[in-house]
C-alpha cells in the first residue's frame, strides 16, 4: 500500500473517529490532521509502520484525549473572560437539532471505556482484533465493551435498539 492510498483510506475514518471523540467537527479535524501528519512523517522517514491503522489511531486517541481535556479546561476560562457569551456559533446553529447533534450528545454520555471501544469499531472502522490491540485488552473484553456501548447508545437515542 502506498502512502497516498493509505491517507485516502484513513482520512474519512479518522475524521469520523476524531469528531465523535472530541464532540466538535473543527476540533476533530485538527486532531485528524495531526494524526495524519504523524503517520506521513513516520512513513517518509522510516517507511510504513507494521500496522498503519494501529499506529494512526493510537496517535489519534492520545491527541483527541488531550484536545478534549484542553477544551474542557478552556471553556470555563473563556466563559469567565467573556469570550463565550453563551450564544451558539454558526456551526452549532447549522447542526442544531439534527441527528448528528443528538448523536454527539448521546456518544458523549457513554462511559469513556465503552465509548472508546465503540468508536474504534464504528467510526474508525477497525476490526475487533486491531481495536482490542489498540486498547490493550483481550478481544472478548473488547466485545463486551462494544456490546454494552451499543445498548446504552441505543437507549440514549431512544430507538428501542436492544443491542442484539
Amino acid at each position: 500500500m502506498d502512502l497516498d492510498r493509505a491517507v485516502s483510506d484513513l482520512t474519512p475514518r479518522l475524521l469520523r473517529y476524531c469528531t465523535a471523540r472530541t464532540g466538535s467537527p473543527s476540533l476533530g479535524e485538527d486532531v485528524a490532521h495531526d494524526a495524519l501528519v504523524a503517520l506521513i512523517q513516520r512513513w517518509r522517514s522510516y517507511g510504513p509502520p507494521d500496522s498503519v491503522e494501529a499506529f494512526v489511531f493510537a496517535i489519534a486517541r492520545r491527541r483527541a484525549t488531550r484536545a478534549a481535556l484542553r477544551q474542557r479546561l478552556l471553556v470555563p476560562i473563556e466563559n469567565l473572560i467573556g469570550r463565550r457569551d453563551g450564544r451558539r456559533g454558526p456551526e452549532d446553529l447549522t447542526i442544531d437539532k439534527s441527528e448528528r447533534d443528538r448523536a454527539f450528545t448521546a456518544i458523549a454520555l457513554l462511559p469513556p471505556r465503552d465509548r472508546e471501544a465503540l468508536l474504534l469499531v464504528v467510526a474508525a472502522g477497525l476490526d475487533t482484533a486491531a481495536a482490542a490491540t489498540c486498547l490493550g485488552i483481550s478481544q472478548s473484553a473488547f466485545k463486551v465493551r462494544t456490546f454494552r456501548a451499543r445498548r446504552r447508545l441505543a437507549a440514549l437515542l431512544g430507538n428501542g435498539h436492544a443491542g442484539t
Binding site: 491517507v7 490532521h33 501528519v37 448523536a103 462494544t146 451499543r150
Partner: protein, 115 residues
C-alpha cells in the same frame, strides 16, 4: 448476542460522516506538510545565514579605524626639519642660507681611480 448490529453501526457512521470537501482538505493539508527533519534543516540553514549576515554587519560597523595613510617621521636637526615618509621620500625644510659656503672650508672627496 455480542455480534455487531450493522444497521445501527451504519446509522452512527452516517451521522459522523464528514463531507467530501472536508476529507479532501484535510488530506491535502496533511500531505503538503513538510517533514519535520526538512523543517529543522531549513531553520538551521536560515539561522546560519542570518548569523553570518549579523556577524558581517557587526564587523563592518565596528571595524578598526583605517590605517592606510602614510606615516611620516619628523626630526629637527638644528634649524633643519627632516621629514621622511615610509616610502623613502625625504623633505628637508630649513632657512635659506642665501650665501655660498665660505671658500677654503669645503672638502673635495674623490673616489675612483687614483691615477
Amino acid at each position: 448476542m455480542l455480534e455487531p448490529d450493522d444497521d445501527f453501526d451504519r446509522r452512527i457512521r452516517d451521522w459522523l460522516q464528514p463531507d467530501q470537501q472536508t476529507v479532501e482538505r484535510v488530506k491535502a493539508r496533511a500531505l503538503s506538510t513538510q517533514p519535520r527533519r526538512q523543517r529543522i534543516e531549513r531553520i538551521l540553514a536560515l539561522s546560519a545565514v542570518a548569523g553570518l549576515l549579523v556577524a558581517l554587519a557587526g564587523m563592518w560597523f565596528w571595524r578598526p579605524a583605517s590605517t592606510d595613510f602614510d606615516v611620516f617621521t619628523a626630526t629637527f636637526n638644528g634649524d633643519v626639519l627632516v621629514i621622511r615618509a615610509t616610502d623613502g621620500t625625504t623633505w628637508i625644510l630649513g632657512p635659506e642660507s642665501g650665501n655660498q659656503p665660505p671658500a677654503g672650508t669645503g672638502q673635495v672627496v674623490y673616489q675612483g681611480d687614483q691615477r
